[in-house]
């Protein structure tokens, strides 16, 4: 029996506003516990929530970038459940009239491209954090996060395997960071995802019963959790039982999903319109302004890099794939005329260092200004490409200034033709056998002479000049 997998994702994106969705509490991450809690976040009697317009603007940017409908009038509902990190006993969300509906996004996997439709994206408030393991017999509650604006992005169940699910998550992350509506920081929980997984016999049109996987916060775990769950559902069905519709928790340590029965007992959320909040209306003018302020998106950047800057397609793709990388490229390009050389270094040596350290470029010691200057020093022949490599490595270690490294280490390229000629002569005189072999047609030995001159000059000779001088002398 072969099985088809059907997956839908709900991604919670923490919007990068300064203040909360309904209060003037700060959304800063990592603050001392319970210091960013407003009376509204606490749900104290007599308080009235007031919506943060910026959260709407950010949600609309997402909607416009995914070709979605924007509901210029949207409303809030209450989702009722009891949990200690939700002080009001309900979460304010957008059930009936979400701000964004019917968008789509392109995903790319190893062998193909695919459009995934987005059912809706709605605004809602985040809950606080429960700390279970710190106190004996009690749970501690930190409400700093309570009320932080989230955009919940719900996909259609159109994703067919774990790889596509990861590609979809990556595409959403890339988009929200380019749009500057979320910092995309997974370790800090700025993006979290619930995955709905079901299986059906190949070819069946009717969907199987789904399980919802919670608590997944990395690309790796999305893939592992889905693959575990697919296998589990196949085992359940093939043993003659049926899949139960339930919420399951993914345990990354044991690599398994397990039932969260506590959630099941109370899965009737009794949504109703929130009487505290009137419909929020976005004017045509506001919508127009947001449209005009949308930044250039990855695909547009890629095309521009190819057409206007003259980059190779592969280079343009890598550079436009992350906002940090694109920023580095564009900012460094203002420091030198040789944008193609910047691209070559970004895709080559810089990417290699990033991969080695498993970091993003904005986490490295390399500033765009210093990087631009490094490339400029190669273009203006101050240093050779080989020396530039060691300079880059030093910057990578401690962020020192390019010119300072060149000066203190005496790395300036030797341009003096007569000095280079002298060194080249010395090399030729010291290696009569090789000279003879070369003259007898062993062309490959040319590289040997270049290498010897470079060695004599500790890599500081201008390779182009060395080539010319050696050719002349060895004729």
């Amino acid at each position: 029996m072969t099985w088809d997998t059907v997956i839908g994702l709900e991604i919670h994106v923490q919007l990068s506003t300064k203040s909360k969705l309904f209060s003037g509490g700060s959304t800063e991450f990592g603050a001392e516990s319970n210091t960013h809690v407003d009376l509204i976040d606490m749900g104290l009697p007599g308080v009235l929530p007031v919506a943060n317009k910026e959260a709407f603007y950010k949600a609309i940017r997402f909607g416009l970038a995914t070709g979605a409908n924007i509901n210029q009038t949207s409303t809030f509902d209450r989702k009722n459940y009891f949990y200690p990190d939700l002080p009001k006993g309900y979460q304010i969300t957008q059930m009936t009239k979400p701000i964004v509906e019917n968008g789509s996004i392109k995903i790319v996997t190893d062998d193909s491209e695919k459009i995934v439709n987005i059912t809706r994206a709605h605004l809602e408030e985040d809950a606080g954090k429960s700390i279970h393991d710190l106190f004996d017999g009690e749970t501690g509650v930190d409400l700093n996060r309570a009320g932080t604006p989230l955009l919940e992005i719900v996909s259609e169940p159109e994703i067919s395997d774990a790889k596509e699910a990861v590609a979809y998550f990556k595409a959403i992350r890339q988009l929200v960071t380019f749009l500057d509506i979320c910092d995309g920081n997974m370790a800090q929980g700025s993006m979290r995802c619930d995955v709905n997984v079901s299986i059906k016999k190949s070819g069946d049109t009717e969907l199987g019963t789904r399980a919802e996987l919670k608590n997944i916060n990395s690309f790796k775990f999305i893939e592992k959790a889905i693959n575990f769950e697919i296998d589990r559902q196949i085992r359940v069905i093939e043993s003659g039982e049926s899949v139960v519709q339930e919420t399951r928790l993914y345990d990354s340590e044991k690599n398994e999903t397990r039932s969260m029965r506590s959630k099941e007992e109370a899965n009737d959320y009794r949504y109703f319109p929130c009487p505290d909040l009137l419909p929020v209306v976005i004017s045509d003018k506001e919508l127009q302004e947001i449209k005009e302020s949308l930044p250039e998106l990855p695909e547009e950047k890629e095309m521009r890099y190819i057409r206007e800057v003259g980059l190779e397609e592969s280079e343009a793709k890598i550079i436009s794939s992350s906002k940090a990388m694109a920023n580095m490229f564009e900012e460094a390009s203002t420091k030198t005329d040789d944008a193609k050389l910047i691209a070559k270094w970004l895709v080559g040596d810089v990417s290699a260092l990033l991969n080695k350290d498993h970091i993003e470029i904005d986490e490295s010691n390399l500033s765009s200004e210093n990087f631009g200057k490094l490339i400029e020093r190669i273009s203006d022949n101050t240093i050779s490409g080989k020396i530039a490599k060691s300079v880059l490595e030093e910057i990578w270690e401690n962020g020192s200034d390019v010119d300072q490294i060149i000066e203190t280490k005496g790395l300036v390229q030797i341009q003096d033709e007569s000095l280079l000629k002298e060194i080249a002569r010395k090399v030729i005189d010291a290696n009569p056998d090789q000279v003879a072999a070369y003259k007898n047609g062993k062309d490959k030995l040319f590289g040997f002479f270049v290498g010897q001159v470079m060695k004599e000059t500790q890599g500081k000779a201008n390779p182009k000049s060395v080539n010319e001088i050696l050719k002349e002398l060895l004729q």
Partner: protein, 93 residues
């Protein structure tokens, strides 16, 4: 309205119902629902659901942090807390 529904609703709303009052509450709820059911006689298929009786739209805020640090005051009014957290009976997933 039956006993099972009332038990579910009382669980969901965390309201405890005394055994002896249960019969009366079931009867009261039945009456309320019957009363509200009169609305079913009206054809509302072309009418947008009312989200708020005030026919107004929301005033909104600009994105500014205006809250003060009320940590000590808020922890103090909680039924149980220590110097950093609100404390509740242990919740384990």
């Amino acid at each position: 309205m039956d006993k099972k529904t009332v038990t579910t609703i009382s669980y969901l709303s965390r309201l405890k119902i005394d055994g002896e009052k249960e019969e009366k509450i079931i009867k009261d709820l039945d009456n309320i629902i019957e009363f509200v059911d009169q609305l079913d006689d009206v054809d509302t298929s072309n009418i947008e659901p009312l989200t708020n009786p005030l026919e107004k739209t929301a005033k909104t805020r600009t994105d500014e942090v205006t809250a003060k640090n009320l940590k000590n005051e808020l922890l103090e009014i909680a039924p149980s807390s220590n110097e950093d957290y609100f404390l509740v009976p242990r919740v384990v997933e």
